[in-house]
Symmetry: C3
Subunit: 361 residues, 3 copies
Amino acid sequence: MTSKNKFPFVTCHCSLVTASEMKHFLTTSDWKRAELEALIVSAQAFKRDEDKSKPLAGRSVGLIFFNPSLRTRASMQVGVYELGGNTVVLEPGGTSWTLEHRDGVVMDGDKTEHVAEFVRVLGRYCAGLGVRTFAQLKDWEDERRDPVLEAFARYAEVPVINLESAMHHPCQAMADMMTVREKLGPGRKRVLLTWAWHPKPLPMAVPNSFALAAAQMGHDLVIAHPPLYDLDDELMRDIETQTREAGASLSVTHDADEAFDGAEVVYAKSWGSKSFYGAPEKDTETRASFRGKWIVDAQKMRRTKQAIFMHCLPVRRNVIVTDEVIDSPQSVVIDEAENRLHVQKAIMQRLMQDAKGGGGT
Amino acid sequence: MTSKNKFPFVTCHCSLVTASEMKHFLTTSDWKRAELEALIVSAQAFKRDEDKSKPLAGRSVGLIFFNPSLRTRASMQVGVYELGGNTVVLEPGGTSWTLEHRDGVVMDGDKTEHVAEFVRVLGRYCAGLGVRTFAQLKDWEDERRDPVLEAFARYAEVPVINLESAMHHPCQAMADMMTVREKLGPGRKRVLLTWAWHPKPLPMAVPNSFALAAAQMGHDLVIAHPPLYDLDDELMRDIETQTREAGASLSVTHDADEAFDGAEVVYAKSWGSKSFYGAPEKDTETRASFRGKWIVDAQKMRRTKQAIFMHCLPVRRNVIVTDEVIDSPQSVVIDEAENRLHVQKAIMQRLMQDAKGGGGT
Amino acid sequence: MTSKNKFPFVTCHCSLVTASEMKHFLTTSDWKRAELEALIVSAQAFKRDEDKSKPLAGRSVGLIFFNPSLRTRASMQVGVYELGGNTVVLEPGGTSWTLEHRDGVVMDGDKTEHVAEFVRVLGRYCAGLGVRTFAQLKDWEDERRDPVLEAFARYAEVPVINLESAMHHPCQAMADMMTVREKLGPGRKRVLLTWAWHPKPLPMAVPNSFALAAAQMGHDLVIAHPPLYDLDDELMRDIETQTREAGASLSVTHDADEAFDGAEVVYAKSWGSKSFYGAPEKDTETRASFRGKWIVDAQKMRRTKQAIFMHCLPVRRNVIVTDEVIDSPQSVVIDEAENRLHVQKAIMQRLMQDAKGGGGT
């Protein structure tokens, strides 16, 4: 919610928040570092079973998935239940039924409902909404503004939680930051975000949100990826600002091996090049030469300061990371996934505890 | 449940109700006006949060969707939860698996289970069932008898709620009647049901049930549609009887503009012509000339007595209704959708509070 | 859990159970007769509503379906709820997303997650997992070892319940044994498992588990099927051992009529021939001549000692069994399906009451 934020889509929901006094959880950049740290403290209390509060008792949370999800769906359903509430899962993407999000359109095509109605109606039934919109990897300039998520936030009269959009995955990033603190203690760490080879291009939400949150939390950040696989320019400027203000360092490298030197955290993820949005075969062709080189293996891990190994899952074994590394004691991927549950409970408690419930409560 | 009702499908479940003393909610025509009004009073108590009873505590309700549904599914799941219960959602239509509903058939085709077993088994697990069967728009004479819904009601040993069949959508109609009363107070209103252009033919359940319920509640009813888009003959005779007995008026017009004169309620809906069941392309061709003329816009709304605008949703903006109308203060579509929740809670409470639960309760 | 069990897949999870002291429910052959009988007694207490314990209060159970399911899904969801808990349903088979279960594989194909991660993560959210893996009917030597189920059991850190695998359906078998006792009282009965004609080959899990459980419970067992439709050799040797040790009889016949003589229980089921795995058209061709002969009808039932008629459902009427038989008082198929609920509650209580819950409990 900093006023100097340059992203059009952030500006957009900032004004909304101002107008309604209600808070969404769309990207960590809307939240101050102290607020993010408070969420981690809250998540830790849930994990230790010290916080037994049931802020969602008698209330429902709607989860809308435009793309299939197993981990996010399971952790959200369990989290809502453990907070005393009820989950309603809706999958517009599971059928031919789709949502229009643009204003003023003559809806004579294949879209049968507008987000304006869909979101306001669900807000009458539910105390909050989680939504996964996902990237299409077709039109970079459109998708980088997260138009579907933005439409949800604009129309919603209850809090909206981003469960992965084209550009952001803030729940994952918060679980990541919680895991770093849990394993290595508080304070600045040397964190490597490294690209990895994968047979096809994947969305950038996870690397975007991880890098942003690591910068916000004041970590020294190294980002390693092949040429043409750089992150969004404005996001990088934001990350640069955050690290500078925190007195931390930021570097970007194309060297897949040197990047590991001295790392305390190795975070692996594959993503597609924004240069090849709409042309996946070109991306696949370009990345072919990176296979074998851009994989996290024991040799690279030996360059680190006994770094923990992290990945958001699902992960392709012996493609992104070798069995040897992911099965080693340094791998914290299962704890990291467990922390999704705790951190999401903290976020829901924070957002929904004072919000009015559905129509019947 | 009037004995003079001429519909074979109504006769059918009437006899069932007589036999078992158990009541389904298949169409409002099975219920007396006083009973329907009691349901609205009950729904209003739920909406004001005055009725906190949990008649479904410890019990489950099965929701069977042969067609995808978002709004109905969400409102039913939330309603069951708010009544203290648990929902089980089953989607036979989501797979190749389908149900046989005809008696005496040699089941060597593509249908793997008979409604006789399916419904009786679910009745052992659940205190009640909601079922959406939907129209195929293929065979008018078959579908107008609602054979799948009828088979459910015939075999079920627990209450069955119709969540939209080929011919009826009584939960929607009850939410509509509740909304009219909420916005305009009790007593007779001048209600317009108007057809609207839509790129393809849609089922008739919503207009059927709305017109029927409006007649049962004693409203003056105007039905406007192009030639060939008339409602079912027997349904119209039933509506005529209802309005006459209530001392109300009924008129049908093909004039898309005059119909609005003096209306206090404008209810828009597109539907397919029963003349074109099985031939959707002929329907699309026929209706092409109605585009632009059969849309609810501000000019038409100015002919009304400041009517409220209603639609069951989902609605195609600038096709069925202009942005200007649906975004105006006269539009009550979100409240109408919210009322689905409250009225369905009232219906479930009425039907299931005394019924025995599933096998384990 | 007998050490002399010769099946590779049984050996496998036996060692797991030994190692972790945690018990899965994968096949009844892992459990002693006294343990199985205790489960039935517990299920009867749930059915009579005498056991009101809520061992799953505050805890979640994950249900993973690689194949669609209605009955299993409904009975598990209701059972978990009635035990106080919350269900999370995941359907990897509903999308193109699939799980790798082999160790050491380079995952550069179409599988995006390994069971190793999937199962351990769900174990952090859930107190137990139910999984339906189903048969592919493609590769007999592979499928008879139940490799997917085995991978789940090997990696899971919480109890796993088999909700039907390629080879076993132990929850169905327990409901069957409960039903036999409920209808005919305790003690040895003459039980017929008869093959029936069906237009296409079906999995063998139900006949396998029924025959095995009937043998474990000490019943006299007749298995009737056409030539080439025999059950697994090792399974048959296990059944032979079980019946011999219990002092009961076992016979296999190809005579579709004589098999009914003196039966007290008739259990009908169609299944595919293991000789035709991977060649379904050959199976269909071979079985064509059995149509009409291998159906349970009133004439056959008259040869029995007023046997009860059982089937796991779904059943094709007038293909597997005539309307006359399934609608007769001897038919207990609905009670049998209801007992799925009660017996699964008993199994979950037994397995999960002492296990630690998900991450947040």
